[in-house]
Amino acid sequence: MTQVNRLGGGQIDRTKTLNFKFDNRNYTAHPGDTLASALLANGVRLMGRSFKYHRPRGVLSAGSEEPNALVELRKGSRKEPNTRATTIEMFDGLEANSQNRWPSLKFDALAINDQLSRFLTAGFYYKTFMWPAVFWEKFYEPLIRRAAGLGTLSMQDDPDEYDKGFRHCDLLIIGAGPAGLMAALTAGRAGSEVILADEDFALGGRLNSESFLLNDDQAEIWVAQTVAELSAMPNVRLMPRTTTIGAFDHGIYGAVEQTGDHLANLPTGKPRQILWRIYSKRALLCTGATERPIAFENNDRPGIMLAGALRSYANRFAATPARRVAIFTNNDDGHRTAADLHAKGVKIAAVVDVRVDAPTSGDYEVLRGAQVIDTKGRLGLAFVEVGLADGSNRTLDVGALGVSGGWNPNVHLTCHQRGRPTWDEGLSAFVPGETLPPGLAVAGAANGIMTTYGALQSGAQGAAQALELKGDLPTLPEAEDMPVRQTPFWYVQGCSRAWLDQQNDVTVKDVKLSHQEGFRSVEHLKRYTTLGMATDQGKTSNMGGLAIMAELAGKSIPETGTTIFRPPYTPVPIATFAGRLKGQEFHPTRLPPSHYWAKERGAVFVEVGNWLRAQWFPLPGETHWRQSVDREVRQTRASVGVCDCTTLGKIDVQGTDAADFLNRIYCNGFAKFAVGKTRYGLMLREDGIAMDDGTAARLAEDHFIVTTTTANAVKVYQHMEFVRQCLLPDMDVQLISTTEAWAQYAVAGPNSRKLLQKIVDPEFDISNEGFPFMGCGNVTVCGGLRARLFRISFSGELAFEIAVPSRYGDALMRRLMREGEEFNVVPYGTEALSVMRIEKGHAAGNELNGTTSALNLGMARMVSKKKDSIGATLSEREGLNQPDALMMVGVKPVNSGDKVTAGGHLMNASGPVDAANDQGYITSAAFSPSLDSHIGLGFLKNGGERQGEKMRLVSPLTELTVEVEIVSAHFVDPQGERLRA
């Protein structure tokens, strides 16, 4: 198909021809086209269907404010629904399809809604579909859902890469029209760090769409010269294809750069888009203005568009929707469109101007004091019905109608910190208000300065003021400076199916109904009619709706109110906000020192926070994880096992007051204990609930190593810094995390000492006498490597923890395995670790769940009353010290073989099973190879007194009821003889 509506001139590269597909038909275009301009050039006006009535729609605009021409761009997993044809930069091989229609764009079954429109008025669904109640989910809602929505997602993972980055500047200039370019020139020449960002792929803004001259030259020539000078400046960064989406606190702006959307294929490793966080000292908003339509009967047909857009297509893109067009305007700018199109050889049927004193702008008819009262044409505009000043009607036979109701400054970003724009009578439009985001100033049309010269001038001045530049401004080019005055004309009296929000199908009639039913505040209007809630965020519709509501309420527009704008300025792919942090990169992965060795051993791994830990080490022939875990437990308890416990937090606490400091942090006494000793410590939150537990090892008078649980390492460090800096500022204490510096392994089991004696250098006595239970100290291993040894036990066995610098962790593990062969040493993972600590009755994460106190954990006596420690006072509140308070207990099934379920609740042996009779719950459960039975830990009301009681363990969720006996939490070696062996 040839480009039947391609005009002469324009900023397209005719030397290259690009092929593209729309709804599976082939067309041609040129570099510099958008999808919209190319379709118009190819004689295509029908591009989409509306949201509710499925009315045929074409382009309304030539920019990001487009409500109608939304398409599904690209195919397969790269399909992008709801993409504005007006902002899609053409590339060779582009494929797009229309959306929200079935079976085809021309024949859409749901167009029936248009016939039913009288029933489908604003908010009709609030008044019906209520009977019978069950019908809603089953019938009504699916129907509504299928009809609603716009495009479809591919349902496949997005295959593209995205990035995030940070940029810093003295001045961020948002928008590269006349004001923005002039501001950049001013700031750039002054040597400031400047970023100039514009959503368009071509810098220049409106200047690219106008035919007038700057310094006796086409505006585009001045643009080219200016851009050339700016690109040569090292201190200026030009960012085309970059939309500034939001103004956030303290001069931080979000900007989305479309680095790959204009390419047929992304080079490998390159992102499709980059989210820039721009840190600006000052910012200048030069985002221009958006033309506003006029509401009249059937004003939504393909071919009816904003007059300025018509002009953009003709001047910049050398395209027109039709060869014969008319203009409907209330201001002189509409005439400019007529003149430009006329000059390009497009026939102007007439300029319909509501003003009786409208000027003559060219060699075509001007119908003064006239209004468009209706239009015809099913899939595209065919006739325009004009009501003339004398009351008679005239039918214009045209393929396109350019509509201009004046221009609204693009104040969006000035509202992002909830500032409200103010009403300008002269412009009859909202302009930036008093309270702007700090550091932001506004220039050009965005600030209500509607002439080109004014824009250039305010851009230069804006930059100079923002940067407090002294001296002369760059000389401004000569440009048009016709004063602009806009007398409002919102809608043609008597119209009813006249569209305000074209995408959401909100008409003048809907606004009237909203008013009639009492939804009169702007927010109610928006929410009741959905006006301005579409993907264009009401850029072309809010004002019209507001104006009509004001008229109905008999108030002025400012009295009626305004709706402020929220980020983002235009919609942003969710993937862009995520950048590279997806899939495996969502969170960092932490690998313990023995990871690579464990991988060789065929370990099964599990995520523990960000850590990846060995869960168990299956042997050939083991088909079920329980076989591996049971073996690891049995072998450890029988001889010796090794487990990587590097992930436990380690905090180095030093200073002359270190001991006093820990005495405040832990609820149990810490003041006096000997160097070379380790002590168990329980930390409370200030509210008296257990925060974390661990050990503190005293390596020297002024040096402790504190361990935390893996999960709480970060939290505990913060807490200790808080106490150190905010509560005890004069204590001589220094803290630093050493978690990752040391590879630390638990060596547990009756033969653990024998094994370690082969590792620890002989000059160190680690016999029971030389290195008793809870001992600690610096040693050397394997012939002189510095190491730390702790005699502590989580498993309940005779056990040690040995630590060496992380880089030697792998080698030490291999050495332990080799030297341990004679003892049949076994590596064990987190499962066996957990089984053994449950057997021993040690509380862990499931018990320290943020709601349990020392009392609940059976450690009430540990909370020292003789000192000031965090949490001690509030732990005494009566609610936390009830006679029937939950106490940690052990449970065992009465019938061996029965399973204990963590998360099950405990009920009395008889009586009803319900919340009222809930006695407690199971926190941890496991099969104990040592007892050859399932066992569990849990919390039970008054549990301290109920040992031996038979109860029911119920889990209706998993349809389980088991008879259990309440026992001591210490299933294995309750006297702790093994620890001291």
């Binding site: 940070f166 810093h168 490793g269 960092p588 200073g655 002024d702 001589d732 630093i736 040391w742």
Partner: protein, 186 residues
């Protein structure tokens, strides 16, 4: 002398490195680290001790200084010392010998993994990684920042050489982030 074989943070026996465009990224394991925090009231002594250790006055906020033994600022009255691993493996105890009771010293050698980025466009890579104003960083500047949710130190060694210290256990994640940024920016 012990006979245990050391692994780098990336799990190899030797450092990994790669080049994209004009920028190279090299794992740098041959470095010993120790943190030094002045004891309350002994700030001056600590600085003097650091000066003798590094042959240069103790670095100020956000700075690094020194020769064989280098120091960079990590917090109020707190510094990290760097020295060649083969000659200073037990840096911490050596430093403690100098500062005595004036400061708390903690071995940090294997708490960190280090990557050195080198090349004329290195700053284009860094602006995709962290929110520091890298274009303004000059030789001797050091700052802590967050890269890919990891707390890292970024040190400017010279106009086009930067070092990044990240948590050792996340070396893989950090390296992946750096290389992805290199592929994207270059």
């Amino acid at each position: 002398m012990h006979d245990l074989v050391a692994l780098t943070a990336l799990g190899g026996t030797g450092p990994e490195s790669c080049t994209v465009g004009s920028v190279s990224c090299r794992e740098y394991p041959d470095i010993a680290l120790a943190s030094v925090a002045a004891r309350l009231g002994h700030e001056a002594e600590t600085r003097t001790a650091l000066a003798t250790l590094t042959g240069h006055t103790a670095p100020d906020i956000g700075q690094t200084s020194g020769h064989t033994v280098k120091a960079f600022w990590t917090g109020p009255e707190q510094w990290m010392l760097e020295a060649p691993f083969e000659t200073h493996e037990d840096l911490a105890s050596m430093v403690k010998g100098h500062v005595k009771d004036a400061a708390s010293v903690s071995e940090q050698t294997d708490a960190w993994t280090r990557f050195d980025l080198e090349g004329p466009d290195v700053r284009a890579v860094l602006e995709l990684l962290c929110n520091l104003d890298c274009r303004k960083m000059a030789e001797g500047d050091a700052a802590r920042t967050s890269i890919h949710h990891l707390g890292c130190f970024v040190l400017c060694r010279s106009a086009d050489v930067f070092s990044i210290y990240g948590p050792r256990s996340s070396a893989r994640t950090l390296q992946h982030a750096i290389i992805a940024a290199m592929n994207s920016a270059l």
